[in-house]
Symmetry: C2
């Protein structure tokens, strides 16, 4: 299993002002401007250190930028981390050199080390100069703008004063901006023919509030070396001592101070002004609010409010001048920002997709109109689910609204087929579901879940339906077990009355056909049928079966026995007589076998895949793990790769047709202003396709193989005494034919060894399961009973490949 | 009143393949590559026309790019639209020349005319070559990438083979991409030292699926002119006849065909796969679905499916070779894409804001964490409303969810104060509102509106509340009238019994203090008090008053008499005895006068400003037009300037405190995965601040003055016989003191003359009103009665300034 590289923290010290010097192009005067700033800083802040860092330098050492500084700004501390002698881009210079080529994270770590040491010694200034233009490749090929993003250093952009330089400067600025860089100022030479500085001063001032400063051009080179150096020294003397240079530095100094001041006041301002979701504010204090400066990959960059926060040492003092600790540190995003992240924070491909759609459309209304991202995404999703029932895509904004759309669809379809009238106040249609289900926080979504912490105190909440008990799956002490709730034990026949069923592997749990063949579903079936009959006898009416397939997310990260869910769907689909009036049964009884695959039967089946879908559990849909094709499927969260809200509710024609009448008001009455907004659709398209490509390329094969290995280790060894012994792989049990959908690809990115180890921490851990990118650790409460559930994840599949 | 410039349609012809040649920098070989492509095209498609268009050329005419083509590619049709003799950027060259400088839209129109004429004559190829780099300024200073966006020509990007060229090429690409350009291919010279072509081939291929082609460098210039020309001719002969050049063209030709094919099949694919909101699909056919290729400013670029669609002539043939009509045409976005647009489609500032946040954060979870865009937006909104009650911001995804959040807030606050218990099934809290209100399509939002077309067929809909009748405002036959519903007539005292009240201006309607002083609110008050007593007698309980201030949007674009809404709020606020049990009244009776401005009284007052707020009606809030400070205020739609979904529910501390207890589950139980997503917050911040700056800069002063003029025209002339006569301006009536909030700034961007004229189209128009950017035309039905309402808008304030 490839291990994620350690993240590098952003660089921010109170007493050391660090800026990154980027150029709009090569040869625009980066080093000249850096020298001016260094010299001016040293002159003005003469008791402080001024340093110049060139992380990567190319070209003959005697022509290197730090040599230039050595000559003209000897008062400045200079350092070059990696020097390659050929005057080409670092990615080529590094390749043709005999020197070591640092991986990107090593390079970042070296910059951090240098900066930390400097900050621990002194206050002052540090200018970090890049090579070439903003997108010039670093030693290993990543462009600098991507490579240095995590440092989040404020930028001094050196503009291009030459012909064409306006374009170069604006484009370079945009490349930085779309990666979340903050450009503090633009500096460029004053050149009177092209007058780029005049245009750019207006442009950056008016549009971005960024000041542009100029310097006169350095003297023309002359052949005589000493004269040349004398001219240049004279130039620097003048340039570094005039008001403009000091003004720039004072401006940057002010911005530096304001940045820290703002970061440090944010939690208290938020504490006063923000009303957080699901948060008991009485228990919230400013120090509990995490200030997120930026995020990249799997990590936030968060404000360290005091050294104690980093060291675990009780201390109330904040970091002072001379500290080696940055004010920002990487923090692991353990819940993938509420399970939304797929390709990592600050992913440049998703950013560019969002910006492209914003530039091409903005948002365009979705009323009898269509645009490419919405259509392409609909086509991609319908094809991706491989569910022959699903033919239609309805767009909304989040899982909760998408669930309400699904409910409106299902209830109408059921009502129309079974002839229940709306105006009849006695017809209250409920949903069938599982206990602990969660579908969102709008009232309709709440109403579809059983009463519980998430809803019962909400004034308009009214649970509408019935929610089944169900067996759950957990690995404890190295063994996979299906645990039956008490109510199910009553239905167990002779020899079935075990509260737990053990499996040699999680794959075994998902071998649904063989488990069905072995009669394991019969207990479930008896319970379900009996319950439905009971509900029918009570006169309850239902309009939908709604499930979170495989895993109940917010309900406690419960892995439901997939056989139970499959059985539930199957029973509902063949039980029209338990839902409809007898006269409608004859009319709309079980559909003929030829139409079975597309028409809904019994009740419309809704799968809420908001949490489970889009590869969260390792597959495009979790439905495919059950071998069940729902009539309606809801997708959100990972859909947009973790960038902006968007939801799709997919439906079958059989559902759709219930709304097709001659009456306009029979249409599905739901819509949001930003329905199918182009930005969300384009980002989703980019993300979904990338995940599909990763699957097709076999990027997760290692995880599937590892899982296989794990299964192997346990086959026939439920007592776990032979961990090292290799036996036959469980996939082999599927026989020679095409493997059953539901048994292929049950895998996780979490190391099987780790899962196994965790399952044995019996003092604190009740059990554990891992699937796709989710790791759920069911903790014991203090008294040793099952209790809290901790859910972890690895947000990015990419990094693991 | 400044008039919007006519939009230019995108350029797309079936038989004429038009491409725009952009350079990663100046001097990268744009003209050389264009010449190669032109010559190769002419060789391969010898029966077709091949043309080269240089919209703007700078430098001596004999060195101009079309002279180069004239020399080396005489077989190609050449045209230069604007030629300036100085070899500097067009914005300077144009300024120093004595020639005319075309406004941007004139330049676009000239390009379109040239292209149309060419397309009408022949099939073939047209290469449109830009000047300098992608962001080099055009003649009037807009950068080319912005200027040429509306044409939506696919791009041939000429990469930079020099040192630094990798960076230049990627940045140029990104600047194009974030403006919605489609880059078809990247071409650059093969240069063996820097090897940019190797890096860029991988980069564009892997990341963007864009092929990169190379050509050998042209021969070095030699002093002898004839040798030089001979070398160059030889170079072109070889370069244009080799396979690579043909391969590029064939690739571009295929893409061109695919683009049209896709556009033409989109409506039928959408018809099969998309489930549209509010749409009776039985009445929908593919030809009714508008295909939107892009959008810019106030216009979509939509596919013309047949000439008939453009000419209104019945015809079933589609455009054929030789047509002068582009396949794309501009279509006015009459509803501002469901009232979301503020700064126009494809606004580069909003795009950059979105991309910046995406690059800096992606989305980061909003649980006890804070990030700059969310906090800064919260601060900006709280300050912007100038409502001293509002202190808290809760984020959600759209107006419907934001309304549900508001309801949860208000109902809880009322329940806690008045001591109603949740578990008591008899306590069903309703809302007070106005008939025809609309707050969204999730079940809770639906339940807060009276039964009607939008909700009553929805299975779980259950209207919870009471909705008042109310007087409306309309201008008909040049006169502003407040019309009273029948139920109110009963409450009119002697002399008050008029069904209509006339006003000399809309400003007069909003002079609430003087109208109150004149006793106009007394009728309203009697009706409201009487109704509330009646409801109390029935035992109905209420938890909120929820209003769309000033205008009911989806309910029919009804302009409600602001005095009625103000009176309703005032009566509710002082009528605790009509809502609470007597014992709680003593405890929580009318708050003391000192706390009046911040504590809710009677019932929490919710303003749904989703449609009306953020300057849609000309002010930051519509509440300010009523002089009312709600306890809870909901904002969406225009909030993000029309880019992505986001909603904020602002609340007072008095509401907030109802949730602060020692019980965690008393927290506000609502949250979405993308709560306060950084992209939405950043875009909203950019948009709201820009609108605030526009207000501060006085960008709409002309409209306010025009409105004033309009008022003037009508003062004392209700019979409208003296339109030209100027009398005293209505604002003068406010006296010498500070004008009352509610009478200042009632204005519209719609020409008063036009509104007046429209109000006189009595055969079809029942009445009209205009406020802010909204123009509502109430149409008569076929039988002459009031009926349909057409709502128009001008999406962009900016363009009007």
């Amino acid at each position: 299993m490839p291990s994620p590289l350690p993240p590098t923290g952003s660089l921010l010290w109170r007493s050391l002002r660090v800026f990154q010097v980027y150029g709009a192009n090569t040869d625009v005067g980066k080093t000249v401007f850096a020298s001016i700033l260094c010299k001016a800083a040293k002159r003005h802040w003469h008791n402080e250190e001024v340093a110049f860092l060139k992380p990567v330098s190319t070209g003959p050492p005697d022509e290197a930028d730090d040599q230039h500084l050595s000559k003209y700004a000897p008062e400045v501390l200079r350092e070059t981390l990696f020097q390659y002698d050929v005057a080409v881009s670092p990615h080529i210079a590094a390749r043709v050199s005999n020197k070591s080529v640092p991986p990107d994270n090593t390079l970042l770590a070296r910059i951090r080390t240098f900066t930390s040491e400097l900050a621990s010694r002194t206050s002052g200034w540090l200018f970090v100069e890049t090579a070439g233009g903003v997108h010039s490749p670093g030693p290993l090929g990543s462009t600098q703008a991507d490579l240095y993003m995590p440092l989040r250093l404020p930028v001094i952009l050196i503009g291009d004063a030459k012909l064409g330089g306006i374009s170069q400067t604006i484009s370079a600025f945009e490349s930085l901006k779309i990666r979340g860089y903050d450009v503090g100022t633009v500096l460029l030479f004053k050149e009177d023919v092209y007058q780029n500085h005049i245009y750019l001063t207006d442009y950056f001032g008016e549009r971005h509030g960024i000041p542009v400063y100029t310097a006169t051009l350095p003297p023309a080179r002359v052949a005589h070396r000493q004269s040349d150096e004398k001219n240049m020294s004279q130039y620097y003397r003048e340039a570094s001592s005039n008001d403009a240079a000091i003004k720039i530095l004072q401006y940057l100094d002010t911005r530096h101070g304001q940045r820290i001041e703002r970061l440090e006041s944010m939690s208290s301002s938020a504490h006063k002004r923000i009303w957080y979701p699901f948060t008991q504010h009485k228990q919230l204090s400013p120090d509990k609010i995490t200030v997120i400066d930026s995020a990249r990959g799997d990590h936030f960059q968060t404000l360290v409010t005091s050294p104690s926060a980093q060291n675990g040492i009780a201390s109330s003092t904040t970091e002072t001048a001379g500290s080696s600790l940055s004010l920002l540190k990487p923090s692991f995003d353990g819940s993938a920002s509420w399970w939304t992240q797929g390709l990592g924070h600050g992913n440049p491909a998703l950013t560019l997709a969002a910006a492209y759609a914003a530039g091409r459309y903005g948002h365009v209304m979705f009323a009898e109109a269509v645009h490419e991202p919405a259509l392409a995404l609909a086509e991609t999703l319908l094809a991706g689910t491989q569910n022959p029932r699903l033919t239609r895509v309805f767009y909304s904004d989040n899982g909760s609204t998408g669930t309400e759309v699904a409910l409106k669809m299902a209830l109408r379809a059921a009502r129309v087929r079974y002839g229940w009238t709306t105006k009849d106040g006695n017809v209250k249609l409920g949903v069938l579901g599982l206990k602990g289900s969660y579908h969102g926080d709008t009232i309709g979504a709440m109403d579809s879940a059983e009463p519980g912490t998430f809803n019962e105190k909400v004034e308009w909440y009214e649970g509408r339906g019935f929610w089944f008990d169900y067996p759950t799956v957990l690995c404890s002490e190295g063994k996979w077990k299906v645990k039956l709730p008490d109510v199910l034990l009553r239905y167990c026949g002779e020899g079935e009355g075990k509260k737990e069923r053990s499996f040699t592997s999680l794959s075994g749990v998902f071998e649904l056909e063989s488990r069905e063949a072995g009669g394991q579903g019969q207990v479930y079936e008896r319970y379900i049928v009996d319950t439905l009959k009971h509900l029918q006898a009570q006169g309850q009416k239902f309009g939908a079966l709604m499930l979170e397939p495989v895993v109940l997310g917010a309900g406690g990260m419960l892995l439901v026995d997939p056989l139970f869910q499959k059985t539930l769907v199957n029973v509902v689909r063949r039980s029209t007589h338990l839902f409809a009036k007898p006269d409608t049964i004859s009319q709309h009884g079980p559909p003929s076998s030829e139409s079975d695959t597309t028409k809904w039967a019994g009740l419309p089946v809704i799968f809420d895949e908001v949490f489970t879908g889009m590869y969260r559990l390792g597959r495009f849909t979790a439905a495919s793990m059950l071998g069940v094709d729902p009539d309606i499927s809801v997708h959100a969260k990972l859909l947009t790769g973790g960038l902006v809200p968007l939801c799709t509710t997919l439906a079958s024609d059989s559902i759709f047709q219930a709304f097709e009448t001659d009456d306009k008001s029979d249409a599905l009455l739901h819509g949001h202003s930003y329905t199918a907004h182009a930005v969300g659709c384009q980002v989703a398209l980019e993300s979904v396709r990338e995940l599909q490509r990763m699957e097709a390329r076999g990027n997760w094969n290692w995880a599937q193989k590892a899982q296989l290995g794990h299964d192997v280790l346990n086959v026939g060894h439920e007592d776990d005494s032979h961990r090292g012994q290799v036996l036959s792989p469980p996939l082999g049990r599927c026989g020679d034919g095409t493997p059953d959908k539901s048994t292929v690809g049950v895998w996780s990115v979490w190391s099987p060894g780790f899962v196994d180890w965790m399952s044995r921490q019996t003092a604190k851990v009740d059990g554990v399961w891992a699937l796709g990118s989710v790791l759920a650790i069911h903790m014991k409460t203090l008294d040793g009973s099952a209790g809290d559930t901790r859910a972890m994840r690895l947000g990015r599949y990419r990094r693991l490949c």
